[in-house]
């Protein structure tokens, strides 16, 4: 079903999600920046904010 839909629908605009999925560099950006912020940076900031023993 998809095959025919694809060849017949050449003139249709390509759906937004498909454009993201078809672009490896958007995926690369998402896949690196999300964990860099939510895991690495957030994590390192938590360690940095542990008070130093007197």
């Amino acid at each position: 079903m998809t095959d025919t839909a694809r060849s017949a629908g050449a003139a249709e605009p390509i759906p937004f999600m498909q454009r993201i999925l078809d672009n490896p560099f958007i995926l690369l950006f998402l896949g690196v920046s999300i964990p860099a912020v939510l895991y690495l940076m957030w994590g390192v900031m938590e360690v940095a904010s542990i008070p130093v023993a007197q």
């Binding site: 078809d22 560099f25 995926l27 690369l28 895991y39 690495l40 994590g43 938590e46």
Partner: protein, 567 residues
């Protein structure tokens, strides 16, 4: 394209795909190198398991820890990542009918990886780098241990860039239409995660190297753990993405199976890209320095979305096989499609075992252990290696072994020899790995520590006693380790013998009943869904999985409640 460029291609007689010869050569050399590191690392694994077998207790303490370090590095890093390079080149140049972007850089990457891996091995074998593959500071290894890992990682990063560049080349030169095939999409997922993995590794290993040669005074142990696990955990997610891609590839090559829904499978991979790496935090659940918020966000909310991705693949891979088999007429009852599947074909058998075991052994235990409260039950016990031998050995390693049985005829152009041995290999290895995985988990549940030479802690001030069952499990673990090793040796013997002495296939297709044939080329290298959801067998399998999952999950909460009785 010029004539000289065309001379660099051959046409595959089995799949009709255009094969770029320089890409093929890189695939071969990376795959062979991978297998050599598996052989080395696997033997160290056997030594470790024989030492942890109380009645054998093979190695003295210092050699035990050395062997454990060598085992972890050789199998987890070198075997897996060399093989993944082969998968990346295969999924880009070959499946896209394209040339590999810059074979020369592919070779630079390969040599750096090889030099790095050898250097790290030398450091470990010299005996002054017994720091386990995690190399937590302030334990200090010899500088060339870290240097080896860094050089290896740089090489791997170059390989990943060659992969991305090949995607660009294929698009520019219009070697395919529309979206890339699903297997390539899985490889893109693996490559994306690889970039984050390697960057994290560089951020932490370069300073650690400088510290080992005295240029930096201090590395904070907790920062080290946070960043190191950005690499250590994410690298496992490269494996998951790659072996899921391999499952789809084998199903397509052996049975002509098409994904049930391209969209759904791709979104499942997208979940990996977005969320899987955050779960790195599950390695730090027991760290007092990290906040609840950080732990819970990264390991619950985010990780469950990634797990959802795996569950989707766990549904659609068997589903696509069922759909393909039913189309061939195996429609009786819920399971004729499965009974009449090509169980004698080691590629199929290995792939299906990998799928089932990854889910039941690795997947369920991973979610249990990744739950903050439950993690306390088994943190740093043998449960942990029990779990990840279910993921990275039963899942990734077995899947990679399985696909090798297709690569030998397709890429090396040799028929398989020792067919009986090849047929038994996936079963033998699977039985062995199931044993080591379950018995290590069992011993861990009873409290046996991981990474410990002396399970009785005989020289400890406060004595520790285990139930007799713990000793029994460690013995059984040793027995099954021997079986797993035999399975590993079978694999290596079959592969090496076939590459060296297998009948040359030339430009003929492989003889049909041989476990090599690739009848439906289109499915692996094209876009398209199976377009059916009437799959009673898969529905039953998935239900069984969920019931097992839920029961086991609650059993563990029950254990936890028993530790801290609520009154």
């Amino acid at each position: 394209m010029s004539a000289s460029a065309n001379a660099e291609f051959r046409t595959c007689p089995e799949t009709g795909l255009k094969v770029h010869l320089p890409a093929e050569k890189l695939i071969k050399v990376n795959a062979v190198t991978a297998v050599i590191f598996l052989a080395v690392g696997g033997l160290f694994g056997l030594l470790v398991a024989l030492t942890r077998w109380p009645a054998v207790h093979l190695l003295p303490a210092d050699l035990f820890y050395l062997a454990l370090t060598a085992h972890g590095a050789n199998v987890l890093l070198f075997w897996i990542i060399f093989f993944e390079m082969a998968v990346l080149y295969f999924a880009s140049a070959l499946l896209l009918n394209s040339r590999l972007a810059t074979p020369a850089w592919g070779w630079v990457g390969y040599w750096l990886m090889l030099v790095g891996a050898v250097l790290a091995n030398i450091a470990v074998l010299q005996g002054d780098s017994t720091v386990m593959f995690t190399s937590y500071v302030p334990m200090k290894a010899a500088p060339h241990f870290y240097l080896g890992l860094i050089v290896f990682a740089v090489g791997a990063l170059i390989g990943v860039f060659v992969f991305f560049a090949t995607l660009v080349v294929a698009k520019d030169e219009n070697t395919y239409e529309g979206s890339v095939p699903l297997v390539t999409f899985g490889a893109i997922t693996a490559a994306v995660i690889a970039v984050f993995t390697i960057v994290s590794g560089a951020i932490i290993l370069i300073p650690t190297f400088l510290w080992s040669i005295g240029l930096i005074g201090y590395i904070d142990p907790l920062v080290y753990k946070v960043v190191w696990w950005g690499m250590g955990h994410s690298s496992q997610q490269i494996n998951v993405s790659a072996h899921v891609a391999v499952w789809y590839a084998i199903a397509a090559l052996v049975l002509g199976a098409k994904p049930l829904s391209e969209k759904v499978s791709r979104v499942a991979f997208l979940f990996y890209i977005l969320f899987l790496q955050l779960a790195s935090a599950h390695h730090l659940l027991a760290e007092p320095g990290m906040s609840e918020g950080w732990k819970v966000f990264n390991t619950s909310y985010a990780m469950y979305l990634a797990v959802l991705g795996s569950m989707i693949h766990g549904l659609t891979v068997p589903g696509s096989i069922e759909a393909a088999q039913r189309e061939k007429g195996y429609t009786h009852g819920a399971f004729e499609w499965l009974r009449k599947a090509p169980w004698g074909n080691p590629a199929f058998a290995g792939m299906f075992l990998s799928l089932v075991m990854f889910g039941f052994l690795g997947g369920i235990s991973g979610v249990v252990m990744g739950t903050e409260q439950l993690n306390l039950l088994m943190h740093n016990t043998l449960y942990v290696p029990g779990h990840f031998h279910g993921t990275v050995v039963a899942g990734t390693t077995l899947a990679f072994m399985a696909v090798t049985y297709l690569l030998v005829p397709l890429i090396f152009r040799r028929g398989l020899v020792l067919n009986k041995m090849a047929q038994w290999q996936p079963y033998l290895f699977a039985i062995g790995v199931t044993g080591i995985s379950l018995f290590m988990m069992g011993a861990g549940t009873l409290g046996v520590a991981r990474r410990h030479w002396d399970m009785t802690f005989s020289d400890a001030v406060v004595s520790v006693s285990y139930p007799a069952g713990a000793f029994l499990m460690m013995g059984l673990n040793g027995v099954f380790a021997v079986l797993a090793t035999l399975g590993g040796i079978f694999y290596i013997v079959v592969v090496v013998a076939s590459i060296l002495y297998g009948p040359k296939l030339g430009d003929k297709a492989a003889p049909k009943p041989a476990p090599a044939a690739a009848p439906r080329p289109a499915a692996i290298a094209s876009y398209g869904s199976a377009g059916t959801l009437k799959l009673p067998g898969t529905a039953i399998l998935v239900t069984v999985f969920f019931v097992a999952f839920v029961l086991y999950y609650y059993v563990n909460w029950k254990y936890l409640a028993a530790l801290w009785p609520m009154r």
